[in-house]
């Protein structure tokens, strides 16, 4: 394994009595697109700011290229950041904004102007070079901010929710621009977002944080298919959570879980052992539940339809399974139409035991 570009080694950050980041351990490799996500206040932005040198870790060590950077000022390290509000200098025009970093490095005027214009051209902004920042659209400003950070050819780029201010359509287009740039330049992107769709669409690896802790690190696929704990399962959405106690095992190696809603089967994640009597949390994806009047599976619950919601090509169906358990089921429109559900109707929800996953944590 090559040496990681960035290492967070037991990093803690507190502001007074408030613990923003607790015992963060993370390795980021060269050329990776890492997305750090979580809801607001989870410590994702603080993590990024510590890497950029804008906040100093309270404990632990941050290493860049193997060197401790805790005590380096922001202006002493090469960790350009793209701000959520972009933080473009309103008193400078487009090209002056872009060349700011080169000017700080003492590059001659003609040379830095040439280089900045090349970057503007690359991002399709050459005609705006002499414009005032206030005359640009949101998407254009976004690209100016990118050019300003990339013009010094850094080995890493930090992005703090850069797309959150854009409308959905533009945001998707900018995602394409970002991933394209990252692949072309071969540099590391560390991207902070609260949007799961942005993170999953762009990142090689995602880091999910909650209340200052890392909950899970993995590829979007891993996180989606095997969430480590209840928080992650709920955060990525479209998951149902069931609690129960291990009763035993069936002949396929599936775990028999007893709950107040009856007995059902669930799969163990690789490497996790379970013993009878142990409390477990089971996660079941909304798209793995079938609705039928003629059940075939052992895992079933009789439910009442309480609502539905149309999300693009899919329909979310909400079911009341009694005893305070609510299930979410996701079906394509065609299946939903075939079922012809009405609110208040009784229906059986069933699923294959191999699709229900016992979580590693709780």
């Amino acid at each position: 394994m090559t040496q990681p570009l960035v290492v967070f080694d037991n990093v803690v950050k507190h502001f007074g009595s408030y613990h923003a980041v607790e015992r963060m351990n993370l390795e980021i490799y060269k050329g990776e697109f890492v997305a750090i996500m979580g809801s607001s206040g989870c410590g994702k932005t603080t993590t990024l700011r510590m890497l950029a040198g804008l906040d100093k870790p309270s404990e632990g060590e941050i290493r860049l290229n193997g060197e401790r950077i805790n005590d380096l000022y922001s202006w002493e390290r090469e960790t350009p950041l793209v701000w959520q509000n972009l933080a473009l200098f309103p008193f400078l025009n487009v090209v002056e904004n872009v060349e700011f970093g080169l000017r700080m490095r003492g590059m001659a005027k003609a040379e830095r102007r040439k280089k900045s214009l090349q970057w503007l051209e690359r991002l399709g902004l050459e005609e705006f070079a002499m414009r005032d920042i206030s005359l640009l659209s949101g998407g254009q400003r976004q690209r100016v901010a990118l050019a300003r950070s990339l013009v010094t050819e850094p080995s890493i780029l930090l992005l703090d929710e850069p797309l959150s201010a854009l409308d959905a359509h533009l945001s998707v287009r900018m995602q394409g621009v970002l991933t394209g740039l990252q692949k072309d330049l071969g540099i590391t992107f560390v991207y902070v977002t609260h949007s799961q769709s942005e993170a999953f669409a762009m990142a090689d690896r995602v880091v999910i944080m909650s209340r200052g802790r890392v909950e899970q690190i993995g590829s979007p696929k891993e996180v989606f298919l095997e969430p480590h704990n209840r928080f992650v399962a709920e955060f990525i959405g479209g998951k149902n959570i069931l609690c129960g106690t291990v009763i035993g095992f069936d002949d396929r190696g599936l775990v028999r879980v007893g709950s107040e809603h009856g007995e059902f089967l669930a799969r163990r994640p690789e490497g996790k052992s379970t013993t009878p009597g142990e409390r477990v949390t089971v996660c079941l994806s909304a798209e793995h539940i079938d609705l039928t009047e003629h059940p075939r599976q052992r895992n079933r619950l009789t439910c009442t339809v309480v609502g539905e919601e149309f999300i693009g090509s899919m329909v979310n169906i909400y079911l009341d399974a009694g005893d305070g358990l609510e299930l979410q089921v996701q079906k394509p429109h065609a299946d939903y139409n075939r079922l012809g559900l009405r609110n208040g109707q009784k229906i059986v929800a069933e699923w294959d035991g191999a699709c229900a996953l016992i979580l590693r944590g709780d």
């Binding site: 922001s74 202006w75 200098f89 300003r148």
Partner: protein, 305 residues
């Protein structure tokens, strides 16, 4: 005002929908609505600023016969004042003193405002803003007189120097004392105006500069000052206006020599009822201030194409 509004309402259009009607009315009514609120201040300005100003300019063309002013339209006073060396000396002196004060006080105030804006907690900041307002509770004239007590040859400062066996310094009736007065007059205001513009600088701009390799001092000059430009220029402009027309400090602390334009005005009116000549000086001062203010505001709000 009410009757005016009714008059400008469009005639009722019977075939228009209710929505159209409302829209039509709104379009005609709103300018009057806003205008009616700005009327009092406009009238005030007209009566107490524009009219007296016009009168002042008119007086500058009058003549004095047998110590009495006679309405006329003569260039006599203008020719007299603008051809006198002592007028231009006073003009240059006043301009230099005021410009010097604007620059010096701004330069002294900026680090102070910067520290307050960026280094103190919110509660401390509020206290400091309050403290910066308190000097205005006392009349400027009173504060100037108290400086005399400090600065005079056998005043408090010289008594303190005497304790260390030092010779008394002549401070009163010097340009230094005038500047002490100017600082008394302007410094709190300049700090306040600068502070308000510094406080609202987007912090991420400063962080962005750091992040792009710009060290602390450089960030102050390349990001903080340009971001607060409007406030800094307006503060300096206020300082210029206040000191350019000030009569108290140059006379009571500076000793009135060399004379500034405001001392010249009092001297002119006292000697032989020469109000028209004083009006010429006053008009010249107002024109200078208008040009300076216009240029400063243009500079503060300058935008590139």
């Amino acid at each position: 005002m009410m009757s005016n509004k009714l008059k400008v309402s469009p005639p009722v259009v019977t075939d228009g929908s209710a929505a159209q009607l409302r829209g039509g009315r709104r379009g005609l009514r709103l300018p009057w609505y806003g205008f009616s609120f700005s009327m009092p201040i406009l009238i005030w300005q007209l009566v107490f600023f524009v009219f007296p100003l016009a009168f002042l300019v008119a007086i500058s063309f009058w003549v004095v016969r047998n110590f009495r002013m006679v309405p006329a339209f003569e260039w006599l006073n203008w020719n007299y004042m603008l051809s006198r060396g002592f007028f231009w000396d006073a003009y240059a002196h006043t301009l230099a003193m005021a410009a010097g004060a604007a620059v010096l006080i701004s330069v002294v105030a900026l680090p102070c405002a910067y520290t307050i804006a960026f280094k103190f907690r919110e509660s401390v900041k509020q206290l400091i803003v309050l403290l910066l307002i308190t000097p205005f509770f006392t009349s400027y004239l009173v504060r100037t007189y108290s400086w005399q007590v400090f600065l005079s040859d056998n005043g408090i400062l010289n008594a303190a120097l005497g304790q260390f066996g030092l010779e008394p310094l002549a401070m009163l009736n010097t340009a230094f004392a005038t500047y002490v007065g100017y600082f008394t007059l302007c410094l709190p205001l300049v700090v306040l105006l600068q502070l308000f513009s510094l406080m609202y600088i987007d912090r991420s701009l400063i962080e962005a500069a750091h992040n792009l390799g710009c060290g602390r001092m450089r960030t102050v000059f390349l990001v903080v000052v340009p971001s607060a430009r409007i406030g800094i220029v307006v503060a300096a402009l206020f300082c210029f206006i206040l000191t350019f027309g000030d009569f108290v400090s140059p006379l009571y602390l500076g000793g009135g020599q060399p004379p500034t334009l405001s001392t010249l005005i009092t001297d002119t009116t006292k000697s032989g009822q020469q109000w028209p000549r004083a009006a010429v000086i006053a008009t010249m001062m107002i024109v200078t201030l208008l040009i300076t203010a216009f240029a400063a505001v243009r500079f503060a709000y300058r935008r590139r194409a």
